[in-house]
Amino acid sequence: MSHNTLLVFEVTILVLAIFLGFEVISKVPTLLHTPLMSGTNAIHGIVLVGAMLILGSPHKGAFGWVVGFLAVVLGSANVVGGFVVTDRMLEMFKKREAPKAADAASDGKSAE
């Protein structure tokens, strides 16, 4: 694929991704705004892939080594930290099955 064909293709998926990004979160309740911010924060940790490609490229000078290594460190912190923090937040959104069942039972009694 020539460089320009590739560029047009890349711009196309970029624009589609913009609309997709708006669409997928338009229905998130306020309740989940913080975890959502944290979750998207983890997703842009995909920058680690770019950092790996820099550090893993065969012809790099000392500069590439240092900068690539730093980028990998920062990118991995973003990925791991982002997902762990989000998980810790969401962990607390557990449904409480037992009390709900109890509520339902008492409702039934009062109805009788």
Partner: protein
């Protein structure tokens, strides 16, 4: 692995990220969504690992160990209340990584004659610029929330003009670079200028607005990553980065509209500056403040029919969510109807209070959002404000001179009585006087929220 095979396999992380965002729409599936996203990220890393064919594999592994280790430990150790600044920190390092990639990529291609091509040059400049702003801006946001530096807006004359000039200079240098002037120092200049801009841009914004800023910087990092995908001709970076860029922008707008303020007003309004006139006005109509003992308040609560808790950042600081839950249980056992009124921007991030109260196992149905909670206040006996301030400030309704005029608030002053738990009479994070405290219906219970609630629990038990 050929580029085509790799690009096909990169569809896996792309699909998982979309699913992750989708699953986050529902509390029941949200955690699974995050796990799906993490799995997709793992696939992306493995594919990239294979793609590099083992070049410098030990350096990559070491870097991931250091960065990942730091991320895991920091994320595990942080208290729930410090989550917002942790998000800011991890967002900042992501932006920093994007800026470094731009630098490395330019360094690699500069020696080739006739390069960089204009689109690649533009991508390098933009991802460097946005990544560096996101990095330094997030670090300032982190420092403000961690209270390493003052939360109040820091302003000086000519600030907006100076910032704008700095940004314009960065863009001018960047355009020169993209136009084909082959000098690496141009990018260094852009990165330096952008880092400075990030600091200057966040410094004047008050601590209470940090959530909006972090959300915006989160979108910035996403954008920087997407643009970085053009440098490396990598689809997964373009799509994932832009997903975050777009959803982050929408989230920022939603958060702004929850405060009834435009994003421009948040960013450039130096919100929280106490204008001399407004302060004077507040002083003149300020009556006496009534403070009460825990025993008095315990009696009020125990003999009420309906009590509404209004949590704010003070609850988070004091880590009082479990005690609040305990007090609520105690009151319920006495036949009091208990609910929680949650303002969309209470705390430091939207949903901050929901997270804390969920941690204390408060049942969902008791958490009322603003529109649902407000009509209830007129038949509420006691509204118990735990460390909230600006979100219950009646000036937002009544005083056109107030900086928060027009912001939707929780109308706690419609309740029969208001009890405010507060550390002292200092104004809140935004630095605005609150006439609610001088309302004859209001009594103040001074002290750390956790200590006060603990006393209330003991006193209600003793009744």
């Amino acid at each position: 692995m050929s580029t085509n095979v790799a690009n096909l396999l990169y569809l896996i992380p792309i699909v998982t990220f979309i699913l992750a965002l989708r699953f986050l729409s529902n509390p029941a599936h949200a955690r699974r969504g995050n796990q799906i996203g993490a799995l997709g990220m793992f696939v992306a890393i493995v594919v990239t690992w294979i793609k590099t064919g083992g070049t410098s594999w030990w350096a990559i592994a070491l870097g991931m160990l250091i960065g990942g280790g730091f991320g895991a430990v920091a994320a595990r150790r942080v208290k729930m209340t410090a989550m917002p600044q942790m998000v800011a920190l991890f967002n900042g390092v992501g932006g920093g990584a994007a800026a470094l990639i731009a630098l490395a990529e330019l360094h690699k291609i500069l020696p080739d004659p006739g390069r960089p091509k204009i689109d690649i040059g533009l991508a390098i400049f933009l991802s460097g610029l946005i990544g560096a702003i996101s990095f330094s801006g997030s670090m300032v946001a982190f420092a403000k929330l961690q209270e390493l530096i003052r939360g109040r807006p820091i302003t000086y004359p000519g600030q907006k003009v100076g910032n704008l000039a700095l940004l314009a200079a960065c863009v001018a240098v960047g355009v020169t670079l993209a136009a084909g002037v082959q000098d690496e120092w141009l990018l260094w200049a852009v990165l330096g200028g952008a880092t400075l801009f990030g600091v200057l841009f966040v410094l004047p914004i008050g601590g209470a607005d940090m959530p909006v800023v972090i959300s915006l910087l989160n979108a910035f990092t996403g954008l920087a990553v997407a643009v970085g995908g053009f440098e490396l001709e990598n689809n997964v970076l373009i799509v994932s980065g832009m997903l975050v860029g777009a959803s982050g922008t929408l989230l920022t707008i939603l958060m702004g509209s929850a405060m009834n303020r435009s994003i421009a007003n948040v960013l450039f309004g130096a919100f929280g500056q106490v204008s001399a006139a407004a302060a004077a006005a507040a002083e003149t109509d300020g009556g006496a403040v009534r403070s009460a003992s825990a025993e008095d308040v315990a009696v009020m609560l125990a003999y009420a029919h309906k009590v509404v808790f209004v949590p704010g950042y003070g609850l988070a600081v004091a880590q009082a969510q479990h005690d609040v839950r305990q007090l609520a249980d105690l009151l319920e056992a006495k036949g009091v109807e208990v609910s929680y009124a949650i303002h969309p921007v209470a705390g430091r991030m939207p949903g901050h209070m929901n997270v804390l109260l969920a941690e204390a196992n408060v049942p969902y149905p008791q958490l009322k959002e603003m529109d649902e909670a407000n009509p209830e206040f007129s038949r509420t006996d006691v509204a118990l404000v735990v460390g909230a301030n600006d979100v219950v400030n009646p000036d937002a309704r009544n005083n056109q001179g107030s900086p928060i005029y027009g912001m939707p608030i929780l109308n706690v002053d419609n309740a029969n009585a208001v009890v405010v738990l507060k550390r002292s009479m200092n104004p809140g994070f935004a630095g605005i006087e609150n006439p609610l405290f001088y309302n004859p219906k209001t009594v103040m219970l001074f002290g750390d929220a956790k200590d006060s609630i603990t006393k209330l629990i003991a006193d209600v038990k003793a009744l």
